[in-house]
């Protein structure tokens, strides 16, 4: 327990601490702040699209800026830092070590995020979260684009430092009595996602550097006017960012592996299949980047290879889902707030995966490509699976962090609003895509079906907003005035678990 609000420490004790739980707390508070900031942009986007025509956003350029910063914020400033926060809390506890392997490096990795976030937000760049050339080279105004590139460079370095720290902590600082095969699957999720990060991220770092030099006119790697190839950027980008999808989702699955057995009052059904599935996902994540680029003129054989490479992730993902279901089978499940979020996350993970199978089937990919289907699919993953796992885990950690319990009923209302909202927004966007609506549009023709579905999605977004307001209020109120938690068993589940061990970890 690090932030016992009944016995507060000065804020700078936490800010300048190198202790893993303090840094974990900083990561999580920062990521939640960015979640609400990015969420505000999402609501603005949905409000603009509620009716055809111009509503309140001045022009299409401003709209482009909003979805660019929304996407960048949610991926780089919410999901990744939140996972790092959870990892900072739990990885040393899981491997039974006093701290992360490199505590100062850990603090440096965190403190890179606020300035990088400031660069991204102050830039308000307009070229989408993947800065696709040639637009990002020839049309995107400076210095916004350059600030965004620098922000992403810093975030990339931070992610790599964090990944190195996780890998070394797990492999070199693990207690000798704890074999890797017995390490909890949350630890395995951080090990596998960190390995993916180390392999994938340098490619994007190089691509960003090349993009920056192209923008300065020094080189022409991606500039057709100078003999460059924009498709090369797409390859470099997706070589990093398809594996990155797994970097985002694997920790969320690891969090579900903590919650589901705990609340089912049973051990996980198969530790071995969970480990195997994480390793498989790490491997096949590098075999599928081309499916984002089926429409770029690839040969039929290339497309088939990438289609099969993508489908290779299906068995591993299915192993996780079956592991969850088998764990719940025969249990006595307490549907407290964290378990509701985890269960909802499984359902939406499965739905998102089914949509992914459709995306990767190249004939249908040409129908869904660049349509709202893709928006719905991607968000079903990042919100329906990753955010659901993360928010559920935040509720789970809340008593361990604050020493107090959150308001259970409000947590459940938050879940119900978010689940219904997610279905209304993202399932509808799939259908909207099949009806032909392109993504990234500021305005659309008054086709009755498009209007109806955009309004349905808008109402769903407002439900999520209502849930988020309740969530924020619950967190703030319960942190200060919630009931004292029973630190040995805050959820009244019985049994013993390893978390109270952290209370014995001394600060330094």
């Amino acid at each position: 327990m690090v932030l016992e609000l009944a016995k507060p420490r000065p804020i700078w004790y936490i800010m300048f601490s190198t202790h893993h739980t303090d840094i974990g707390l900083l990561y999580m508070i920062t990521s939640l702040a960015f979640l609400f900031m990015g969420g505000a942009l999402a609501i603005a986007i949905r409000m603009e699209l509620f009716y055809p025509g111009v509503q309140f956003i001045a022009d299409s350029m401003t709209f482009n800026r909003m979805f660019t910063i929304h996407g960048t914020t949610m991926i780089f400033l919410f999901i990744l830092p939140f996972a790092s926060g959870v990892g900072n809390y739990f990885v040393p506890i899981i491997v039974r070590y006093k701290d992360m392997a490199y505590p100062k490096l850990n603090a440096i990795a965190f403190w890179m995020i606020p300035p990088a976030g400031a660069l991204v937000w102050l830039s308000f760049a307009d070229f989408g979260w993947y800065a696709q050339p040639p637009y990002s080279l020839i049309s995107s105004p400076a210095p916004a684009a350059d600030m965004w590139i620098f922000g992403l460079k810093i975030l990339g370095v931070s992610s790599i430092l964090g990944a190195i720290n996780f890998i070394v902590t797990i492999l070199k600082c693990k207690h000798p009595d704890l074999p890797l095969s017995k390490m909890p699957l949350l630890g395995w999720s951080f090990l596998s996602s960190s390995i993916i990060m180390i392999v994938a991220m340098p490619t994007f770092a190089a691509a960003l550097l090349m993009l920056l030099m192209d923008r300065m006119g020094v080189t022409g790697f991606f500039n057709p006017a100078m003999g460059g190839d924009p498709i090369a950027y797409a390859h470099l980008f997706w070589f990093t960012f398809h594996p990155e999808v797994y970097v985002l989702v694997i920790p969320a699955i690891g969090m579900m592996y903590e919650i589901i057995p705990r609340f089912s009052r049973k051990p996980i059904f198969s530790q071995g299949s969970g480990m195997f599935a994480f390793i498989m996902l790490a491997l096949v994540s590098f075999a599928s980047w081309g499916h984002h680029m089926f429409a770029t003129g690839m040969s039929f054989t290339e497309k088939t290879v990438f289609m099969i490479g993508t489908l290779a992730a299906v068995p591993a993902s299915a192993m996780h889902v079956f592991n969850f279901l088998a764990t719940m089978w025969g249990g006595r499940i307490k549907f407290a707030t964290p378990m509701m979020w985890a269960t909802g996350g499984i359902a939406l993970f499965f739905a998102a995966g089914a949509g992914g199978v459709v995306n990767t089937a190249m004939p249908l990919d040409f129908i869904t490509h660049d349509s709202y289907w893709v928006v719905g699919h991607f968000h079903l993953f990042v919100f329906g699976t990753i955010a659901f796992g993360s928010i559920g885990f935040l509720y789970y950690m809340f008593p361990y962090i604050t020493g107090r319990m959150y308001h259970e009923k409000l947590g459940q209302v938050h879940f119900i609003l978010s689940f219904v909202g997610a279905v209304m927004v993202f399932f509808t966007q799939h259908i909207l895509g099949l009806f032909g609506m392109p993504r990234r549009v500021f305005d659309y023709p008054p086709i009755p079906e498009w209007i109806a579905m955009n309004q349905l999605a808008g109402v769903g977004a407002f439900l999520i907003l209502a849930g988020s307001v309740i969530f924020l209020g619950n967190l703030i109120y319960s942190s200060g005035k919630g009931k004292d938690a029973d630190m040995d068993d805050p959820f009244g589940l019985g049994g013993k678990y390893y978390y109270p061990y952290q209370a014995k970890t001394p600060h330094h």
């Binding site: 039929f300 299906v314 719940m328 499965f350 739905a351 089937a361 013993k496």
Partner: protein, 77 residues
């Protein structure tokens, strides 16, 4: 695994498709593959979703037939 099993028989068409004149056949094969995959996906999806809903209903702690798991007696899981 089911997806892989469905795909494997179709791979030969892909790699045999370097000669001219087979363009339409490849498209037919891939659409055929797609519809078979969708059939599998919808069947598996219905089974898994149904199982999840049933598990939530049957194994909730408030269910009349709910009983402590064997691990609860030991106190460790």
């Amino acid at each position: 695994m089911l997806s892989i099993l469905v795909i494997l028989p179709s791979v030969q068409y892909v790699f045999a498709a370097e000669e001219p004149g087979e363009y339409l056949d490849r498209r037919v094969e891939i659409w055929n593959l797609f519809f078979r995959m969708m059939t599998v996906a919808f069947v598996v999806g219905a089974v898994v979703s149904g199982t999840l809903i049933w598990l939530i209903w049957r194994f909730r702690e408030s269910h009349p037939k709910a009983k402590p798991t064997s691990y609860e007696e030991k106190g460790v899981w």
